[in-house]
């Protein structure tokens, strides 16, 4: 497990390592990349949902006996960072059928070399919801931080944001720990470092390209 309280890493089982071995391999074709990434994303979503609260309730069983059960508490929505983050939307919908999905487009400004916000579309009532922020790679944390700023400006509570990513760098984790200590970061694996080009090492390449194009 991770050493940070609000950073939750999936249990590093053999099965999970096997899935990562496949998606890291540059010889893995897109069909397999999508299939095995989707499996990891599903595990991330289940782990994320487990962070949500439940409350006690009485239910009626088919025999008419009441039973001390539990029900889910709080509404959620997903917000994906275009384009790679959209690959995680289906995984969320597999667990929450009609979940609302907001989108944020952030791109690097060619002149200033800093991330710039291009497009935001979020559900109206997002301040009342738990937000699953979706981006498969957490590298420098630059665009994810900007997305979080957008959410906070819209009135989302920091402790109600869950940031789901497939792969994280220690640097990216550090950024979130410092800037947004109340956000729960749910990640499948934390890699060794960033290289001089700000790629995660060993990483898995450009997630969006591999999921959509290559």
């Amino acid at each position: 497990m991770s050493q940070y309280e609000n950073v939750i890493m999936l249990p590093q089982t053999n099965q999970l390592k096997c899935l990562y071995t496949i998606i890291r391999d540059r010889n893995t074709r897109r069909g397999d990349f999508i299939f095995y990434s989707d499996r990891i994303i599903r595990l991330l979503v289940e782990e994320g949902l487990n962070q949500l609260p439940i409350e006690s309730c009485q239910i009626q069983t088919p025999l008419g006996v009441s039973y001390d059960g539990h029900k889910f508490l709080g509404k959620i929505c997903g917000v994906s960072i275009i384009r790679a983050g959209e690959s995680m939307e289906q995984g969320l919908r597999d667990c929450c059928r009609s979940v609302r999905l907001g989108k944020i487009l952030i791109q690097r400004d060619e002149e200033t070399a800093t991330p710039k916000l291009f497009y935001v579309k979020l559900p109206e009532d997002i301040p009342e919801r738990y937000v699953f922020l979706l981006d498969p790679l957490l590298a420098t944390g630059g665009s994810a931080s900007m997305a979080v700023d957008v959410l906070l400006q819209k009135g989302v509570k920091e402790e109600r944001i869950l940031f789901l990513n497939v792969l994280a760098s220690p640097e990216g984790i550090e950024v979130f720990k410092k800037k947004f200590p109340k956000i729960k970061v749910i990640t499948g694996m934390i890699d060794q470092a960033l290289d001089e080009k700000k790629f995660v090492v060993p990483g898995l390449g450009d997630f969006g390209d591999r999921y959509y194009c290559i």
């Binding site: 053999n14 099965q15 096997c18 071995t21 391999d25 540059r26 069983t61 039973y67 990483g203």
Partner: protein
């Protein structure tokens, strides 16, 4: 000092435990009935009436015709000219017949050859028989070989007058088999009649019961059926008592073999949805699928993995040094139809998985589990078998399914039972019979529950409801 008194009493107790541990399915000692008589005597009709009346879930009719010896080209020529003797005991492969019966008697999966009368040879096909509770062996020489007689529980001889047999045979061969009348008469005079008198008739003395006037004798057939039913009830009672003993065994459950899902918020919430009578079918299916995915993922942790080759490179050119690959094929087996609830989730996780099926149902009156059908693939050596059942209540069906899988040459330690709701009694029974089987369970009840804990008397631990709700058949 006698050797018996020197033995400490504890040892004999252990011995009894060991015997109780071993699960003996009903087909390990199938009830075998032999039916003999002249050609045309009505053996097959008698056998079919018995099958209809005893109404056992898995009854097999085995004809000795399958055991004709393959003919040489010369013999085949004779056969086409009606000059080959098919009615002498020598025409049958009695050794193969005996081996087949003994294999069935031992409860093994048995291949029965298929003989083609058109080719006068064995075909490449064979019939596979496994798990039958009752086997009826029918043929003119089924009561001939003393070794085979010793394996039969009831031996019946259908005694019909030879001239009646002759007229029936004439009719059958002309009308059904379109053969010419001269050939039939010649064959009858030359082979059928002498063999019948010399070799078939004496086997009547090996029978327990002789039915005069053959298949028209309804009174005799009724009596036979009553007798067989009584024997089968006795057998069924023994099976049930045996299963009960397995559940009562006080040996503590080896929890190392049981992996129960943690009670996460999601699983607690989903359990309430599954148990709530207000839940729509839509929601029930959706949430069961989600639970099933989690259970399957958990089960896949038990598959063998090995280090990946060291030449895996990422798109950015970095070498993967700690890669892992799956080292074992996964084969699924569903207990129809409760295990079928896992199918959709399984297909999402392992789209190409091979799936075998077994249908096991409990007798509505006695509750005895009965194997109705099994369609299992050839298990590759060293594969992992995931056995799916949505609920384990008494554990009888799962115990039987595991035994079936073991009989198909799968290692006990490579079987993983995947189940959502399980009673402790049921799992105890399974592990007492098969201590090396692994179990992945969503909700495990306790026999001695603490406050707020599930227990074996909770209604969902004593009622099958998941498959009925999942498939909308309640």
């Amino acid at each position: 000092m006698s050797p018996l008194s020197s033995e400490p009493p504890s040892k004999s107790a252990t011995h009894t435990d060991l015997q109780a541990n071993k699960y003996i399915p009903p087909w390990t000692s199938p009830y075998i009935i032999g039916v003999a008589g002249f050609s045309g005597s009505g053996k097959t009709t008698v056998a079919q009436k018995i099958i209809e009346q005893i109404n056992e879930p898995w009854t097999v009719l085995l004809s000795m015709d399958n055991f004709y010896k393959p003919l040489t080209p010369e013999q085949r020529e004779l056969a086409y000219r009606n000059e080959y003797d098919f009615d002498t005991p020598e025409a049958y492969d009695l050794e193969a017949f005996y081996n087949c019966i003994i294999s069935l008697k031992e409860g093994k999966k048995t291949q029965v050859p298929v003989y083609s009368f058109a080719l006068h040879n064995r075909t490449d096909e064979s019939i596979s028989i496994y798990g039958a509770n009752v086997i009826i062996v029918e043929g003119i020489y089924s009561l001939y070989d003393p070794k085979v007689l010793a394996l039969m529980d009831t031996k019946i001889y259908v005694d019909t007058d030879l001239d009646i047999c002759y007229s029936r045979r004439l009719l059958r061969d002309i009308v059904e088999r379109k053969r010419d009348i001269e050939g039939i008469i010649e064959q009858w005079e030359k082979f059928v009649k002498p063999s019948s008198v010399v070799s078939v008739k004496p086997t009547m003395y090996n029978a327990d019961i002789v039915i005069p006037h053959g298949s028209d004798n309804t009174k005799a057939i009724d009596m036979i059926i009553k007798h067989i039913r009584k024997q089968l009830q006795k057998k069924s009672a023994e099976h049930l008592a045996h299963l009960a003993r397995l559940g009562r065994m006080v040996a503590p459950i080896n929890f190392n073999n049981i992996k129960a899902l943690p009670k996460t918020n999601q699983l607690l919430g989903m359990k309430s949805i599954i148990l709530n009578r207000e839940t729509s079918n839509d929601d029930f299916i959706f949430y069961f699928d989600r639970i099933a995915s989690t259970l399957i993922s958990e089960a896949l942790e038990l598959v063998h993995y090995s280090p990946a080759p060291s030449d895996i490179i990422t798109p950015n050119g970095y070498r993967i040094t700690d890669g892992v690959v799956q080292a074992q094929e996964v084969v699924a087996v569903n207990i129809i139809k409760s295990g079928d609830c896992f199918m959709r989730s399984l297909r999402k996780i392992i789209p190409e998985a091979i799936v075998g099926k077994v249908l096991i149902q409990s007798d509505s009156q006695t509750g005895e589990p009965q194997l109705h059908t099994e369609r299992l693939p050839k298990f590759s050596s060293g594969c992992k078998v995931l056995l799916f059942d949505a609920q384990v209540i008494s554990g009888a069906a799962a115990t039987m399914a595991i035994k079936v899988i073991l009989d198909h040459d799968v290692e006990e330690s490579e079987i993983v039972l995947v189940v959502y709701l399980a009673s402790e009694t049921g799992l105890r029974r399974i592990l007492n019979a098969f201590p090396n089987v692994k179990i992945v369970v969503g909700n495990l009840s306790a026999v001695e529950p603490k406050e707020g804990q599930d227990n074996d008397t909770d209604w969902w631990m004593s009622m099958r409801f998941i498959d009925a709700r999942y498939f909308g058949t309640d």
